[in-house]
Each structure stands twice: as structure tokens, then as C-alpha cells.
Subunit: 198 residues, 2 copies
């Protein structure tokens, strides 16, 4: 038996079978209802193998989305600091990912989501469970308002990504990140902590 | 010679040749630099025929984009009223188009723009020259700030369309339009008339 070195252990066919089953489960049932056990059964493998290859359900979701950044590592950057600065920090962190090489994966994800209902569902689950819930859960926000606040934040951030990286409309397309942080941060802040229509 | 009745006069091949030439010209040169004369030359027809079939350059652009609504007819609805209400009126008008049967053409346009650099350029020209310029030109805004204000407005509106009609994230996807007008109107208002970072 040869010793493996790369970051991705396991038989490629088995890995792909698990990822296919995971995408189907996350899209059809949603992140919360999908289970490692059910995904393993669909892929015809033992649940322990899924954990062995991919780790947690969060990590399996990131792998299934082919997402190169772990939002779980970003959230502490957004939360570090006062509550009144969360809007600016969220925009700054968002831009730092999209303006990095990882941004091309984001563009690919947007492309796929607009042409494919399935990917749109995955993207919706991803934004909700991996990004917004983690941030909003840590802030003192009325739980009943979380869904509206979260999806309002999503309108502004997905639109920022679309105009800066897909449609490439100037001057937003090549603006200094801090200009956009100053302009758009207050919008996010209002959606997260401001008054909402009832 | 038979009498024609439908809304679309002319030889279908000639119409398509003109529309193809128009899409190429608007995408490559931009709306302002593209000319009816140049488009007619590319299509191998007389400029008078282009006017006869499509009317003005604005109308030719709408036909080339296959856009079912004339933004020129929407702008008066946005401008009617006080300056402090322009944000809410822009969101209300935007939603009235996207929530109507015409919205499916908008979704098709977004789909095409994210997968096709050419359509992305057309969409950029469309938003800039047919929508934002018409609105912002009528408001008392520093002309030097128009591009930034316009593209900030575009980030919020295109993101609203994405989350409500493409990704379909709740509760934005099925929210009452007036809830979204109240939540997002102030954002647009700030981008149009508020303080901007320098």
C-alpha cells in the first residue's frame, strides 16, 4: 500500500459519489434536514467514511459547493469589534474574499445559480446557514427578525458581487475596497441592527 | 402587395440582421458611441430602414435587449413627487416591473449576463443609459458623483432581483412589495442623495 500525501484522501469515484449525494440532499432537503447518514446511504458508503473524507456536515457542504473559503473562519473577523461596526466589517470581509483568487469560485457559483434551480437552492442554503445565521446568531437580534434581516443583507451583498465582478459596472468594479466599505457598510448595518418595517 | 397588420413590420431576416448588428455595436462600442448609421452599414441596409423598423436608438436598444418594458415610461413615475421619496418610488417601480409578467425577461437577461461577457456589457450599458442616467439626470446631483451613485443603486437593485426572483430566498422572495419598499427605499435614497465617501 502506497502512502498518500495530497490533501484529498480516498478513492476519487467514492469522493465524487459522496459529493453528488450531498449536493442532492442539501438541495432537496435543505442543510438542516440533510444528514450524513442519509448522504452516505445514497452514496452506498459507511457514514464513518464520509466523516473521514470530509469532516463535519459544514465541511461536507463547503466541499459540495466547491467553495474555497470556509465562512466559519471569516465570521470571527466580522464579529470582532463593536456592534455598530458590523456592517462595515461584513462588507470588508466579503470584499476581501471576492477580490482574492477565491472570488472566481464565487463568480462560477453565481453563474451556476442563475442557470440552474438546483444550484440556486444550494446557494440559498449556503448563504443562510453558513454565512448569515452564523453572524446574526452572535448579535443580539430578535430571532423572529433574523430571516428578513438576513435576506436583506443578501440582496445587498449578492448585488455588490454581481456589479463588481460579473456585470463590472464602473466605478464600483474597480473602486478601492474601503470606498465600498464606507458607502455600503451603513446599508448592511441598518439591515442587521436598524429599524425594520413591520 | 398584401397589407400588413402585426406590430413588427419588415422582412424577419432583415430585422434580425439589424438586431444582431445593434447588439454587436452596443456591446463593443457602448450605447453612446454606437450609431444607427454604423449599425445599418453592418446590417447592409439603409439607416432610414432601421428608423422605420425600430424608431429611435433607445427603442432599437430595447428591441436588441429583447426588453419588454420601456424604462423611459417608468422614469416619470419615479420622478413624480418629492426628492426625499425617490428611493422608495424607485424600489416600488422596479418591483412592479419584476413582479409582472415582464419580470421573466429580466430573469432571462440576468441569466444571460452572468454566462456571457457580451450580454454583461449590454446589461451594463442598459442600466447606465436607459435607467440610471434618466433618473439621476433629473435630480439635482453633482454630475461627478453620478457614476458612483448610479452603480451603488445598481448593486442594491440587481441584488434585490437576484434574491427575490433567481435565488428566491425567503422572506424577500415572497414579501409584500411595500415591505421591501420600506426596507430598501432608504438605501436607494442614501445612494442617490445622501453623503458619499470621497
Amino acid at each position: 500500500m502506497t502512502r498518500r500525501t495530497g490533501r484529498r484522501p480516498g478513492n476519487p469515484d467514492t469522493r465524487e459519489a459522496i459529493l453528488d449525494a450531498a449536493r442532492a440532499a442539501f438541495a432537496e432537503r435543505g442543510f438542516d434536514a440533510a444528514s450524513i447518514r442519509g448522504i452516505a446511504a445514497t452514496a452506498g458508503v459507511d457514514p464513518a467514511l464520509v466523516h473521514h473524507y470530509f469532516g463535519s456536515k459544514d465541511q461536507l457542504f463547503l466541499a459540495a459547493m466547491n467553495f474555497p473559503v470556509d465562512p466559519g473562519q471569516m465570521v470571527p473577523r466580522v464579529l470582532a469589534g463593536d456592534r455598530e461596526g458590523v456592517g462595515e466589517r461584513l462588507v470588508r470581509t466579503f470584499l476581501s474574499i471576492w477580490d482574492s483568487p477565491a472570488g472566481s469560485a464565487g463568480v462560477a457559483l453565481l453563474r451556476s445559480a442563475v442557470s440552474n434551480e438546483w444550484t440556486a437552492r444550494l446557494l440559498r442554503e449556503f448563504i443562510t446557514t453558513q454565512v448569515l445565521r452564523r453572524v446574526l446568531d452572535q448579535l443580539d437580534v430578535d430571532p423572529a427578525e433574523l430571516p428578513l434581516r438576513g435576506s436583506l443583507v443578501a440582496t445587498q451583498l449578492i448585488g455588490l458581487a454581481m456589479i463588481r465582478h460579473v456585470v463590472r459596472m464602473e466605478p464600483v468594479a474597480s473602486a478601492d475596497p474601503e470606498t465600498l466599505v464606507a458607502a455600503i457598510g451603513p446599508t448592511i448595518q441598518r439591515y442587521v441592527t436598524g429599524e425594520l418595517p413591520t
